[in-house]
């Protein structure tokens, strides 16, 4: 029986994280439908539909950033679902953003950004704005390319022009869920939950 999954995420980096996590949990998983790439509002608006659609043969994983340290993931999910959660659907919340999970593999990130591993926090879930922290780290890189194309001008909320493609490359080739879960409690909770869903 093929292990088919549908995922719902807000952007391409989150989509890659979801695919990587599922493959890490069980290499036989196949993500057949990747829905989203249209922002966080879209994820919220479509969660009720997927909650209705999910079943034994159509398991669904959604990622929803908490965006704030004060937000309670459980309330957030209940609010977005608007109905009891379908057992074949799992919503996981990176605290506070997908960048927290990305920074949690500090060793790989240090290599990617060409910085010292010690410069990377070992508590990535505790940043109010994880994205700005990742860009701040990138801005300390000796590589001009990483500073200008990836980090961008720290004075504005907009990252460098190659932020997403470079992040995608990093996720595809370097990022390791098994290392990342040691530093991010929200990721450490997500992995067994996904494993349970794969086996459900």
């Amino acid at each position: 029986m093929p292990k088919h999954f549908t995922i719902l995420t807000e952007d391409l980096p989150s989509e890659l994280v979801a695919i990587k996590l599922l493959k890490f949990v069980d290499p036989e998983v196949e993500v057949v439908n990747a829905i989203g790439r249209q922002g966080e509002g879209y994820v919220r608006s479509r969660l009720p539909n997927l909650n209705r659609a999910a079943n034994q043969h159509l398991k669904v994983v959604a990622l929803l950033d908490t965006d704030s340290l004060r937000a309670c993931p459980e309330d957030l999910i209940a609010d977005a679902l608007g109905a009891p959660r379908n057992p074949f659907l799992s919503v996981r919340c990176p605290v506070t953003e997908i960048e927290s999970w990305i920074m949690a593999d500090a060793e790989a990130l240090a290599t990617f950004l060409q910085i010292r591993e010690a410069a990377i926090s070992d508590r990535p879930d505790e940043f109010e704005d994880a994205k700005i922290e990742l860009r701040r780290l990138a801005n300390s890189s000796p590589s001009v390319r990483i500073r200008s194309d990836f980090a961008g001008d720290l004075g504005v909320a907009r990252p460098g022009p190659l932020y997403n493609p470079m992040l995608e490359e990093f996720l595809l080739n370097q990022w390791r869920p098994g290392h990342a879960e040691r530093r991010s409690p929200s990721l450490a909770r997500a992995i067994p939950a996904l494993r349970a869903l794969v086996q459900a």
Binding site: T6, V32, I35, P165, E169
Partner: protein, 382 residues
């Protein structure tokens, strides 16, 4: 008449395909999966049926010879075969099946010939080739019966339908600069170059009524538009479209088609095609150069136009917006997926998980189009 089923063997990307067609059919798939080639199967049959210099030989030659038509995945079987199942409208609809097989002589002059041709109507065979005469005189097999008025009498209805198949991939620049180009208009005018002439040739009364309907439909896209008119240039005698726009001046301002935007021209061409003729209409990526909000209205627009004119429409598209309309049914979308063994064609209604997602309120644009995105995500990260 409507095409209810199409089967292709060794046709371009398709090694073997057999699908049902709906009155409104959307074709989606990755780049180079064969969307245009799928539409070309219908244009090919039209080119055979055309009375003004069509025929098998020309239809094959125009496409660069049989070796260009044959599916690369087909290794052993060299025959190209197309099958159409059609049904006529009305109280007692007739079921038609047309089938044609084409081969090339392996040696000698390597001529292209008809290896099979048949027509059935309500299960009765009206024609089957090669017949006795064909075996006495094999030159006869260089032509199909579909293209010969003497031979297609018993299935003229079918031939007329295929002749009327229209393909539209309107290129606004060709229409706008038609005076400057003065170029050769391709047969059957796929790029809408002679749209204005076609409008000019329509009887006045019909023409007016259609333009009024089009202006009405356009209003949702262009709220300033007051009226769409057709006029002849008094000096050159060339036909022109004119639009009256509401304006800050007391009298509405006039614009001719060379001042229309690409989007407006494409919309007019599209709407005109929908109101013209009753044969199959093939639209290639109608979303190009149009605003997303307008594209989002296109699926219901086609449906509404079909209410009054029972024209079957097959649309190839890459647009999430076009397929975001919640009224598009799973069987109205065909997904093309390339593989080493040729491209497969599957209605979304046969893909269980997609069907379930659509039944839960997701749209075809959301659930099926992501499947057509390039797998290699780093494609553009250079």
């Amino acid at each position: 008449m409507k095409i209810s089923r199409v089967a292709l063997k060794n046709w371009r990307n398709f090694k073997s395909v057999d699908v049902q067609l709906q009155d409104r059919q959307f074709i989606i798939g990755p780049n180079a999966s064969g969307k245009s080639n799928f539409l070309d199967a219908f244009r090919f049959l039209r080119d055979i049926a055309r009375p003004d210099g069509g025929g098998v030989q020309k239809a094959v030659a125009d496409r660069g010879g049989l070796s260009k038509l044959r599916c690369l995945s087909a290794r052993t079987d060299p025959e190209v075969r197309l099958v159409l199942e059609l049904r006529s409208e009305g109280d007692s609809p007739d079921q038609w099946v047309y089938e044609i097989g084409i081969r090339q002589q392996p040696r000698g002059r390597r001529e292209v010939y008809v290896s099979h041709e048949s027509v059935t109507k309500n299960g009765d065979q009206l024609m089957l080739r090669p017949n006795e005469e064909d075996s006495e005189d094999d030159v006869r097999l260089t032509q199909s019966f579909l293209e010969q008025v003497n031979e297609n009498r018993s299935f003229r209805e079918l031939a007329t339908f295929l002749e009327g198949v229209t393909y539209l991939h309107l290129v606004p620049q060709l229409l706008r600069y038609s005076d400057e180009f003065q170029g050769r208009v391709l047969e059957a005018d796929p790029f809408g170059q002679s749209l204005l002439e076609r409008i000019a040739k329509t009887p006045k009364k019909t023409q007016k009524a259609r333009l009024r309907r089009i202006a009405q439909a356009l209003k949702s896209a262009l709220p300033q538009l007051r009226e769409l008119q057709f006029e002849k240039d008094e000096v050159t005698g060339r036909p022109h479209l004119a639009a009256l726009y509401d304006h800050w001046r007391p009298n509405a301002a006039r614009q001719r088609e060379d001042q229309f935007s690409d989007g407006t021209l494409r919309l007019i061409g599209l709407l005109w095609s929908l109101t013209e003729g009753d044969s199959l209409l093939l639209l290639e990526e109608p979303e190009l150069s149009l605003n997303a909000a307008i594209v989002g209205r296109m699926a219901p627009l086609i449906y509404r136009m079909q209410k009054s004119r029972k024209r079957q429409v097959v649309v190839s598209t890459h647009s999430v917006d076009l397929l975001r309309d919640p009224g598009v049914r799973p069987n109205e979308v065909l997904l093309l997926e390339p593989s080493k063994e040729g491209t497969s064609v599957t209605p979304l209604s046969e893909m269980q998980d997609i069907r379930r997602l659509m039944d839960a309120g997701m749209t075809a644009g959301e659930v099926a189009l992501p499947r057509t995105a390039p797998k290699q995500l780093q494609l553009f990260s250079f």
